[in-house]
Structure formats: C-alpha cells, structure tokens
Symmetry: C2
Subunit: 354 residues, 2 copies
Amino acid sequence: MSPMFVPGPVDVAPVVLAAQAKPMMPHRSKDFEEIFRRTAEKAQKLFYTQYRVFQGTSSGSGMQEAGVRNFVQEQVLSCVNGAFADRWNKCAIANGKKADRLEVPWGQAITPEMLADAIKKKSYEAVTIVHNETSTGVENPVKELAKVVHELSPDTLILVDAVSSLGGTKIEMDAWGIDFLLTSSQKCLALPPGLSLAAASDRAMKKAETVANRGWYFDLVLMEKHRLKDSTPMTPVMPLIFALDVQLDRILEEGLDNRFARHAAMAKRTQNWAVAHGMDPLAPEPYRSKTVSTIKNTKGLDIAALNKFLLTKGMRIANGYGDLKDKTFRIAHMGEITMSDVDSLLANMEEFMG
Amino acid sequence: MSPMFVPGPVDVAPVVLAAQAKPMMPHRSKDFEEIFRRTAEKAQKLFYTQYRVFQGTSSGSGMQEAGVRNFVQEQVLSCVNGAFADRWNKCAIANGKKADRLEVPWGQAITPEMLADAIKKKSYEAVTIVHNETSTGVENPVKELAKVVHELSPDTLILVDAVSSLGGTKIEMDAWGIDFLLTSSQKCLALPPGLSLAAASDRAMKKAETVANRGWYFDLVLMEKHRLKDSTPMTPVMPLIFALDVQLDRILEEGLDNRFARHAAMAKRTQNWAVAHGMDPLAPEPYRSKTVSTIKNTKGLDIAALNKFLLTKGMRIANGYGDLKDKTFRIAHMGEITMSDVDSLLANMEEFMG
C-alpha cells in the first residue's frame, strides 16, 4: 500500500476493500440483520457507550444534520474553531435553527472558561463541538467542555463531531456524558467513505421525540424504531456494512488502547520532527491533534512541489485547508498508517528539503 | 450468480462488485473528479436529459427528501398509490410542507383525469409521482400525467421517483418535461445500495434558490456549486462511484433500447404465465410494471414455503408488501436478470405448485 498521509479518504486495507465485494442479499433478511446487529455492537466498544449506535447511509455531515434536526428545536450554541465546526453551524442555520457562534481563530481551541461564559449568558438546548478539527489539527478538550456544561447547564445536550478522531483517540462517550457522538468511515476507521456512525444517549432520544420538523431521512426516532429490529427505514449502504464488520474485528484485534497509543506516538514523532526543523504545529499544547498534524509552513516549502516529489515515492500529504493553504501543511497519521510509514515520510521530506 | 427475483437490493455482476474494491484516492483530486464527471455524463443518457445529474451519498429516499426540501416552499400535491408514494408524502410533511394527498387504493394507477381535477381545485408548487410502485407493481402514466400538469398548471414542478424503474424502462426526462427525476443504485441499475442519482431541470434549480430551509446535506443549490467543479460538498460514497463507472459502461454496451426491451419481455412472460395459471397481476392493464410483477395470490400459495423451496434452487422471490403480504407475491425482473432466469424461475414455481 502506498501510504497517503491525507486526512481522509485514507488508505484501506486490501482485505477490507475486498469485503465490500460480497454478493448482495436482501437487506430485510435474517442474514443481513445479523451482520447489522453485530457491527452496531462492536461499534459500541469504539464509542465507549452502552447507548445505541446508528449506522447511517451518508457522510459524516449527514449526521451533523441529524444532530441539529433531532436534538434542537430552536437554540443551539456552535463552538467554532475550524472549517467543520463552521459547517455544523451553517448546517444548523440552514435547518432553521438559531445557532449562536462561540468562535475563536482557526488554530486555537475552545476552552472550558469560554464555554462557561457563553452558557451562563444564555440558555441553549444543545452545544455542538468538533472534537478534532481536520482543518487545523486542533483537538478540543471535550471531556472538560462536557464537564462545564453538566455543571452549569445540565439540561443542555452535548453533541460532538469526532469525524477525524474516533477510532484513533479515546473518546469515552458515557463517562464524559456526551449525548450525541458522530463519526464517518473514511478517517481513523480506515474504511471507504459513504457510511456514518453516531451514538445517541437515552435523554437525547427522549428530547428528539419532542422536536418538530425532524425530516424523514435523518429522523433518528424513526431510525430507532427500525434499529430495534436490526434494520433501517431505508436501504442501507450494505457494502460498507460488510467492510465495517471486517474492519471492526481488525481494530478490536489490534486492541483499542494499542491503537490509540500508535496514533499518539505517530503524532508526537511528527510534531517533534516539525519543531526540530523549525516549524511549529499550528495548535498550541495541549491541544495538538493525535491524528492529523497541522504544521506552520514557516520554511516556505512549496507544498505542491513537495507533494509532486512525494508522489514519486508513492506518498502524499495534504496542503493546508482553505485560507491556511500553503501557510500550513497537514500530515495525517490515522487508520492503517504505522510509525514506520511516518519515518519513511519524514525521511523523504528531509530529502526534499535538502 | 443465483438469481434473486426481489425488487432490490438485486444481484450485482461480479465485475461490478469488484470495481468497488479499487484502492482509495483523495476525493478532491483530478483523478477522482474525472471519474465523477464521466459517471454524471453517462448517467445523463440514462435519464434522457441535458440537465445535470446529481450523484448523492444516500439511498433513494434521501433524494425524495431533497425533492421536497429544494423545490417546495409550502404546497405540494402527493400522488399516492403505494408505499413509496406514501413515504414521499410523509417525508414532505416531516419536512414542514403542506402536502395534500391525491390517493387511490394500492394496485390502482393515478390517471391524468384525477390529476387534472386535483390541480384545477388548488394551486401547487409541485406534484410528486412515483413512476413505478415497488409495493404494488403499478406503473403510473408519468408522460400523460406530466402533460396534464403542463397544460393546466405550467408553473407546477413535476417531481418523479423512478427508484425501481429507471434503467429498466425508458423515462424521457426532457421530452416529457420532468423537473426532478430520482433513482437509486440497487434496483434496475444493478449496483449495491448506498448511492442515489437525481436529475434536476434548470427551472427547478432556479426555484430552489428561492426556497428557504433547504438544509445542508440535501441542499441541491450547494451541491450544484460543487458539481460544476466535478465535486461534492461532502465526501462522496467513492466505492459506488467506481462501480457506477463500470456498470454504466455495461448498460450502455447492452444498449438502452435492448435493455428496456429485455425488461418488457420478462414482464410480459411473467404476467402471461401468472394469468395462464389463474392468478392475475394486481395492476390492471395498461399500468403493469415492466420491472416488478405483483401477482394476486388467488391460488393461496404458501409464499414462505415457496421461497424455502426456491432457495434450494438458489432463487428467491418477494412476498407482498405490507398489508399485501401473502395476498400478493412479487417477482422482480430487473437489472442483471435474463429471460432464461425467468424461465427457470417459472419452471421451479410450477414444480412447487405441482
């Protein structure tokens, strides 16, 4: 496999790619329902939850829409420190919600103090937080943020997007008191794109029953009725459920703690290397992502030329996102990537830098 | 391949299954954008349209939601003669629209006369019609229905769900004046589920720009901006785009007219066989589906036992849908199914019937 150090779609193991090609079966059959149940059960371990895990036929953004449509009637607070948090805020507004922004510049984290100030001023049905901003390499302190919300505004639901971290970093949904935790297939889970996963707490589901205008496709109350029968209201993306089944076995076989340690070690190696070469990560400590290192391009590297060079070695990294293009570059170390891959990449980058 | 005569997910050709397993690449790359553009262009032939075809990461129901959220601000008329038309009506209501029902009993068709009466009484921004009701085997006369709307209420948009017929029956979007035509991957296109396709007319897209509360995930105005760059706002279901690329080549190689003739011949063979055995199709002529024959179970066949028997031959059919369970049974002849498969099935059914 030629490793792509891009933050999704990431490389997928050949055995997982092949699992998609299983012959079709009726989705309303015992055979498929059995697979659907066991993928949901295995996913609960990954989410550290006793609550239900929905398997959605959409990208992660679909579950952002599900979150705001099901758990917010009117007032939501969007914590915004990057492109995907901004998307969630825009998604809330596009769905008719009143979504205030608690905003800090890209590259910074949302702190518990800021969040405390915001929720003291006004009452919100929910807050949305992106755990790991793919655009900036910032990891928000979700455990501490959740704690503040529980203390100051216990009825406020806590909705968390962990698209680029779940499966690469430990996120303890139940212990931290997260109400809705979503991710997608093509990042740390190292599956092809097109499948979303999201866990929802009981109190969130109770709230959803009272929310009007939930729509049909992302109506989690409707989805829950079918989930209880190991099924879905619509035909699910079966090839990715087949692949998820195989990949969750591989992930659990590696061991979750081993997997998280591998990601953390690759992040440390990459970020230390960058600092040693005079380029700091965009995020300050202790908010540096374990899955995607975003490095300030203070050496003025020609990122397009760098990638052209890396492609001759069968590798590629990602340029900065949006306005951060060329001002930063991103090295994703998630999914199937190993420390030895990271070592090769950094050696190649040193060769390029001369 | 052991043929499944079920109305989706249908059997998928091995070469198409295998196409899903292509290694990943960044979705925002020239390589992927080229594939995404050519699948859209080939799909236009299938839709008989010069307009844009959206490739959605959802089931067909997602595009039902897209239709009502983008093209209806307030008033829509839902033509209802089966389960999937009923779903579209419920979807409209769940999205806050005022959706009147023009309803006939399951098994009957919506006629131009009925539709004329309804749109004379009240003004609607759009009508929704399911072309081919998977639940009843009724094909609505969409060409004639569209004509009536154009004559009596030319500003009303015509939204058509062709989930279980597009690719098996000729539906001429532009010539008939359809504004939004949607389908999904796992029926006549004989792909795995998880991908939707929908074409939208220019006047529909113009209307969408004026409609509030379109949401984010199914906002076709946003999707159009990205489509013009051969891309999507969210990460698309890439494995199914790879498979679509291969399958559209196979479909166009068979020839669309040949493909439609094959489906029509299999329908005729199946329905004539049923009549000859004293069991009429549920739908009256000329409204019988070309892709899924729904037969009245007037002989009182034990459908579960029949399927158990058929499974020993590597085949299966579908029971009736919902309240029609055991009162009808359904033989889907779509996608990769051939006349020789149908002959084998009917011979096996005769053996079972004794």
